[in-house]
């Protein structure tokens, strides 16, 4: 029998026992809905975690340092790479070269220095760091009071909450309630900070003739000199952030942030400048580290390897991400199994419905056989009925699962809003899940139809025709 005829007859037969078949289909729908709900929760949670991690900059960022820093090198790195003395300097050409690597979104220098900031004539010593424009999407600034920098070179500053407390003299006692960011930001936003810093400026200096026994490849640099000038820079406070965008940096993390271009233009004297004084001519900056942001966290290993090939040290927390992926794979499996259990229960309903249909339609099967239906035709007809119930149940189930997800999502976001937390979308029903769930329901239904279809096909037509 042709497929359209088969489908038509199957649908007609399903309509004949509408109530029973509808109830069976509802059973499948509930099974599929629970499967979709479980898996979409898992997917949603993974996507949310992934989004959070990407936003935090932890999973799409590689910290590149020169081997000349002589820190953080593992044994393998020590054995495989060039010796610190022969390794490259992490300067502007190196930064540009790294930025030109495939899959790299940006590479920006880590400008980080300790400096004195004066607020209302009181000095405060703290660590300052520069942030690129792209840091705007970092989730550390999501609940920030005020705004992000108006431009990459604006004389503006964003304060970390703890520094704001320090400026206002509101450091909470141990165990006491912390002041809110809004409370701290109110008196600070728009106010001025004066930053004192040491500027490195190129200086012609007294060029000393190099002694003949000191000839080296770098002998051109002998006698190069810097001037270190004490400077002041006025900064307008534009934001106060609750979270710490540099939480992974440990003790060297900054509490005041400046726009990157502004920080570069200040030519602040950095610790690396002292170490590289014999290597770097004039006012060319040398960076202690460069942050490399990749286009997709999945490309981090490739980029990390490419950077290492260039002779630099590179670090990312890819291993942590691997662990996370493994966790979600296990979570998927568990949620999928629990979701499938409901569908398995529903499949028993299909078997029951079809076996009942065989009993009721015994004579009809006999008639069909008497007028020329083969065992295969009868079997296919019952398969088609099971498959139709599966597809219909699958479609309704996916819609039901999606609706359940939406309701829970809305409900949770109302709760989050009451807790003054930003809304979150932790429910995702991707297209592959829609298609996969319907296909799964179809396959489960066909498997459920195996026994009834086989039984119908084997019916003896003479016996079946005698059945009243």
């Amino acid at each position: 029998m042709k497929l359209p005829d088969l489908t038509e007859l199957a649908l007609r037969n399903l309509r004949e026992s509408l109530l029973r078949n509808s109830l069976t289909t509802v059973g499948i729908s509930v099974g599929v809905a629970s499967l979709v709900a479980m898996l979409s929760l898992g997917i949603g949670l993974q996507q949310m975690a992934s989004r959070r991690l990407v936003k935090s900059g932890l999973f799409d960022t590689i910290i590149v340092t020169s081997r000349r820093e002589m820190r953080g090198m593992g044994r393998e790195e020590e054995r495989n790479g060039p010796a610190p003395g022969q390794s490259r300097v992490l300067d502007e050409p190196a930064r540009q070269e790294i930025e030109g690597l495939p899959n790299v979104a940006e590479a920006y220098p880590d400008i980080r220095f300790a400096s004195e900031l004066r607020f209302e004539d009181k000095p405060h010593l703290t660590m300052i760091s520069a942030l690129p424009e792209s840091a705007k999407s970092n989730d550390a600034f999501e609940g920030m009071q005020g705004t992000f920098f108006s431009s990459d070179s604006a004389p503006e500053a964003i304060l970390q909450k703890s520094f704001a407390e320090e400026l206002l003299g509101k450091m909470p006692a141990l165990g006491a309630a912390e002041p809110s960011v809004a409370e701290l930001a109110k008196p600070l936003l728009g106010k001025e900070l004066i930053m004192h810093y040491a500027q490195r400026a190129a200086s012609p200096g007294p060029v000393m003739p190099a002694p003949s026994d000191m000839k080296s490849p770098d002998s051109d640099l002998a006698g190069a000199a810097y001037s270190v000038i004490s400077r002041e820079q006025k900064l307008k406070i534009v934001g106060v952030s609750d979270l710490d965008p540099e939480s992974m940096r440990g003790p060297t993390r900054a509490k005041v942030f400046l726009p990157l271009k502004l920080a570069e233009s200040l030519h602040v004297m950095l610790p690396t400048d002292l170490r590289e004084i014999t290597r770097v001519a004039s006012d060319q900056p040398v960076y202690s580290s460069i942050s490399v942001r990749v286009k997709n966290p999945s490309q981090i290993q490739t980029v990390e390897d490419a950077v290492k090939k260039m002779g630099f040290s590179a670090f990312s927390i890819l291993d942590a991400s691997r662990g996370l992926r493994q966790f979600f794979a296990v979570l998927y499996a568990f949620l999928g199994i629990f979701g499938s259990l409901a569908l398995m229960v529903a499949s028993i309903g299909i078997v029951n419905t079809l076996v009942m249909a065989i009993l009721e339609r015994r004579r009809e099967i006999g008639i069909m056989k008497a007028i020329g239906a083969s065992d295969g035709d009868v079997k296919k007809l019952f398969f088609a009925e099971a498959g139709a119930m599966g597809v219909l149940g699958g479609v309704v189930g996916v819609a039901l699962g999606w609706a359940i997800g939406q309701v829970i999502n809305v409900g949770t976001n109302v709760y989050l809003k009451r807790q003054s937390l930003p809304p979150e979308h932790f429910w995702a029903v991707p297209w592959w899940l829609v298609g996969g769930a319907i296909l799964f329901a179809f396959v489960v239904s066909l498997v459920s139809g195996l026994y009834p279809a086989g039984r119908a096909a084997r019916l003896d037509p003479v016996q079946a025709l005698r059945y009243e």
Binding site: M1, E16, I367, A370, G372, S374, D375
Partner: protein, 247 residues
């Protein structure tokens, strides 16, 4: 075991031939010999009535010839093929293309319209919808049911249902028309109408007809030849004379 020769011209070909056909059933420790060594020949285009009382085995013989049942032993040769040796799929094709069947209880599918019932064998034969509908209309026209084609069987009289069953039986243009008590559920007037149609199929379309009935008068009126059965065996002329025949 008696072979009853065909009462048709010698030049006619044999449509059905059974040889020592047996169908036994086991019921507990007993063996029921529903068909016990039946050998017969029916020529192409012949109209034969198989008569006998209830339980004589006539419907069992019809089921064996229709390929609905398999013999315990013996053979049924139709179109030079022993259908006892056909596979289940081959038997289904045989029922689809070679045989048309009419039953006492009409056996129409109640959830389908008359037209759908009639064209059902064509679905199994994988005929296109348009061709199917055309043939179904022609068949219904022939039995005078064109105007009732969209009705369900429950909306028809017994005679109309049997006419629909006849239309379904002839839709595939089979060589054999096997009728099992076709007038058993009909009044005499309607029964006559149905039998007239069966005779027309036999004479106009050249179908070989084997009709099971227990109504001798009906058989005498329409059949060219009568075969009698009792206790699963064919009765020869001598036995018939001794017993005074059936009903």
């Amino acid at each position: 075991m008696t072979t009853i020769p065909a009462a048709v011209p010698a030049r006619a070909t044999v449509a059905i031939r059974s040889e020592d056909l047996c169908r036994h059933y086991r019921m507990g420790d007993n063996i029921i010999r529903a068909v016990d060594g039946v050998s017969l020949e029916i020529q192409s285009g012949e109209f034969v009535a198989l008569l006998g009382s209830s339980g004589s085995g006539k419907s069992s013989v019809l089921n064996l010839i229709a390929g609905l049942d398999r013999p315990t032993s013996g053979s049924v040769i139709v179109q030079d093929r022993d259908i006892a040796k056909l596979s289940r799929d081959e038997l289904a094709k045989y029922r689809l293309h070679v045989v048309g069947m009419v039953f006492q209880s009409f056996n129409l599918i109640s959830s389908m319209t008359v037209a759908e019932n009639v064209e059902l064998p064509l679905r199994f034969a994988e005929i296109d919808r348009s061709q199917r509908q055309k043939l179904a209309h022609e068949a219904l026209e022939r039995v005078g049911l064109r105007t009732r084609m969209d009705h369900r069987p429950s909306e028809l009289s017994g005679g109309e249902q049997q006419r629909a069953a006849l239309a379904r039986a002839l839709i595939n243009r089979p060589q054999l028309l096997l009728a099992d008590e076709p007038t058993g559920n009909l009044d005499s007037h309607t029964g006559t109408e149905i039998m007239d149609m069966v005779r027309d199929f036999n004479s106009d379309l050249g179908m070989t007809v084997l009709m099971v009935t227990h109504e001798r008068a009906l058989a005498e009126r329409y059949a060219q030849r009568m075969i009698f059965m009792a206790d699963g065996k064919l009765l020869d002329r001598q036995t018939l004379r001794e017993t005074g025949s059936t009903q």
